[in-house]
């Protein structure tokens, strides 16, 4: 283990390499660009790596799919309008159960918005595409978790064969700080899906009848529910005797955690996985509190998920929403004092 001084985007590349990534396909878009740049630099040094700069995010996503079919861990990174285009390949990965890995660095939206920051790509990353959101989505709250959870994203993608994402944001992407870099104790194995001479496979994504497709979907949805218990993850901070529980995710949760440490009887519940969502735990914690406050840099994308999870709980629910704006610990303290 060693301590390094890195930006979030550089941490992603370190983690991807530790997790066994061999190919990256990417298209530059702020604030994710340094991921492509750093990986391209690594690929120059290491002949086992390959970086392909594609003509757009669609092509980057399908390139990732092609490489995965060939049995290699590969990934892409994008943000904002790129995340919109990326839904095309992601929906194919969802339909074919391919271990697609995407790093999403949220920026301000809608449209080109800002290149800076937001938490507005929750819907797209969790539920984008013309499907059911059978995806695994990690939301790290600091640079160390960017490293830890990127490795988990790769591992779980290949272990469970659902498209998997690390949902960061412009702050986490650009911030530079100390991070512990280590060799992971566990790495998932890869499998060549197409082109294995030992077995002929014909993979389809088009079905002729409603029933045919419905049968496949039932199976996938059922499997997703089965594996959810192994994946869903959360952090609870100062929740034991808290009267007020803040619900937040990502870097906003870090601000809220800092605020909680200075406030009395205020706790934080933070889903580490947005998909699958830690619904049961969220409900249990919300039930014990007098008041729940859902805090996010979006106008309710996260809040809808929380309210859905805690449905039926009688606790008062308040919302604090700052779409495309950062939220500081001071702000939270001011709000709750």
């Amino acid at each position: 283990m060693q301590t390094e001084f890195l930006t979030g985007n550089e941490v992603v590349v370190k983690a991807a390499l530790s997790a066994g990534a061999r190919l990256m396909f990417g298209y530059p878009i702020t604030p994710s660009t340094e991921i492509t740049k750093t990986f391209a630099e690594e690929a120059i040094k290491n002949p086992r790596l390959l970086f392909i700069q594609t003509e757009d995010e669609i092509s980057a996503g399908f390139g990732v799919i092609g490489a995965i079919l060939g049995g290699k861990k590969s990934f892409t990174s994008t943000a904002g309008p790129g995340t919109v285009l990326m839904q095309d390949p992601i929906s194919m990965a969802e339909a074919m159960r391919l271990p697609f890995v995407g790093i999403i660095t949220q920026r301000g939206g809608p449209s080109t918005g800002t290149v800076i920051y937001s938490q507005q790509e929750v819907n797209l990353t969790c539920f984008g595409g013309n499907g059911e959101g059978l995806r695994i989505v990690y939301s790290p709250s600091n640079l160390q978790e960017v490293y830890d959870l990127t490795i988990k994203t790769f591992n779980n993608a290949w272990k469970y064969r659902f498209p998997s994402f690390l949902l960061t944001d412009g702050y986490l992407a650009k911030a530079k700080s100390k991070v512990e870099i280590y060799e992971p104790s566990y790495l998932s194995t890869t499998k060549q899906i197409l082109g294995d001479a030992k077995k002929i496979v014909n993979i389809r994504n088009t079905y002729s009848t409603e029933e045919e497709l419905a049968k496949i979907l039932d199976k996938y949805i059922n499997e997703y529910e089965q594996i959810s218990k192994h994946i869903r993850d959360y952090e609870s901070y100062h929740c034991t005797d808290a009267k007020t529980i803040i619900f937040a995710h990502g870097s906003v949760a870090s601000a809220c955690r800092a605020a909680c440490s200075q406030l009395k009887r205020v706790g934080l519940f933070r889903p580490i996985t947005l998909r699958p969502f830690p619904e049961y735990e969220a409900k249990m914690i919300a039930r014990r509190a007098d008041k729940v406050i859902i805090v996010e840099s979006s106008a309710g994308q996260f809040s809808r998920m929380v309210k859905n999870a805690i449905f039926g709980v009688k606790t008062v629910v308040l919302e604090y929403q700052k779409p495309a704006l950062g939220i500081t610990p001071e702000e939270i303290i001011g709000l709750l004092k």
């Binding site: 088009t206 079905y207 002729s208 009848t209 409603e210």
Partner: protein, 267 residues
């Protein structure tokens, strides 16, 4: 109308024309001032898949275009049986059109008029005026610029269907009792020339879709459509006049369906 909502499910081979039947009936119902709704349901293939049409006629507004149990189930090909048998119960009237395929040919009508014969037959069981259905059919075909001769044949097929409806109980078998033909067991037609060098032509009706490309491409006009034998889509297969065949292999090379093979002995 006895039932307030009459549910009709039609099922056939893609290209057999079940959608046309449903469209004509739906349009007729609209003209007659009834409530009606129709949806097609088929896969990506234009041919070679099972094509379903859900049609409902009612005096009252209809809530949803799909249904679970049909009052009338019309099946036009064997393959459709498995797809639709769950849509019937003891009360469902089943019209098994498979038994009628030869009827059009017996009356010297084009095989393409088969669906209009079924339309005529089905109309007898519906609260729709025959004349109005026929008129709607004519309008539809004229819009599509169907040649007068074919339109005429379609009308004849419609009338033929009406006549057959009288004898329907004989044909309205239970679905399960219809034997499903195994296309893979169809015999391949083989002809060998008596002259030297010996030429053998093999034509496989389970693959032949009656596109006619081999007939058009044959340099010696040795090929023609069969008058009796039909292929996978119920349309005439190619036959060879072996005396005219020079064994050039053109037909084999242009056949998109690998239905024809040419063997020529080396002289």
């Amino acid at each position: 109308m006895k039932e307030d909502n009459l549910k009709i499910l039609l099922a056939g081979e893609g290209g057999q024309g079940v959608q046309v039947i449903a469209e004509i009936l739906n349009n007729t119902a609209y003209k007659a001032g009834l409530e009606s709704i129709y949806i097609p349901n088929y896969g990506v293939e234009q041919r070679g898949g099972v094509s379903l049409a859900y049609l409902q006629l009612s005096k009252n507004p209809i809530a949803y275009p799909k249904f679970k149990i049909a009052d009338i189930l019309v099946v036009l090909c064997e393959r459709a049986i498995n797809r639709v048998k769950n849509y019937s119960n003891r009360k469902t009237k089943i019209i098994n059109g498979i038994g009628f395929v030869e009827k059009v040919e017996e009356h010297n009508l084009s095989p393409r008029t088969y669906n209009m014969m079924i339309l005529g037959l089905l109309t007898e069981f519906l609260p729709l005026d025959n004349g109005l259905v026929l008129k709607t059919m004519e309008e539809k075909f004229k819009k599509k610029n169907i040649p007068a001769e074919l339109l005429n044949q379609n009308k004849q097929a419609f009338l033929l269907g009406r006549g057959l409806a009288v004898r329907l109980p004989r044909y309205a078998k239970k679905l399960a009792s219809v034997p499903i033909k195994d296309h893979r067991k169809w015999p391949t037609f083989v002809k060998t020339s008596s002259d030297k060098p010996k030429i053998t032509i093999k034509i496989n009706p389970q693959y032949c879709k009656s596109c006619g490309i081999c007939i058009y491409k044959c340099p010696t006009n040795a090929l023609h459509f069969s008058e009796k034998i039909t292929g996978i889509y119920g349309a005439p297969i190619t036959e060879v006049d072996i005396k005219k065949c020079i064994g050039c292999g053109m037909c084999e090379s242009v056949c998109p369906d690998t239905a024809i093979e040419v063997e020529k002995e080396k002289s």
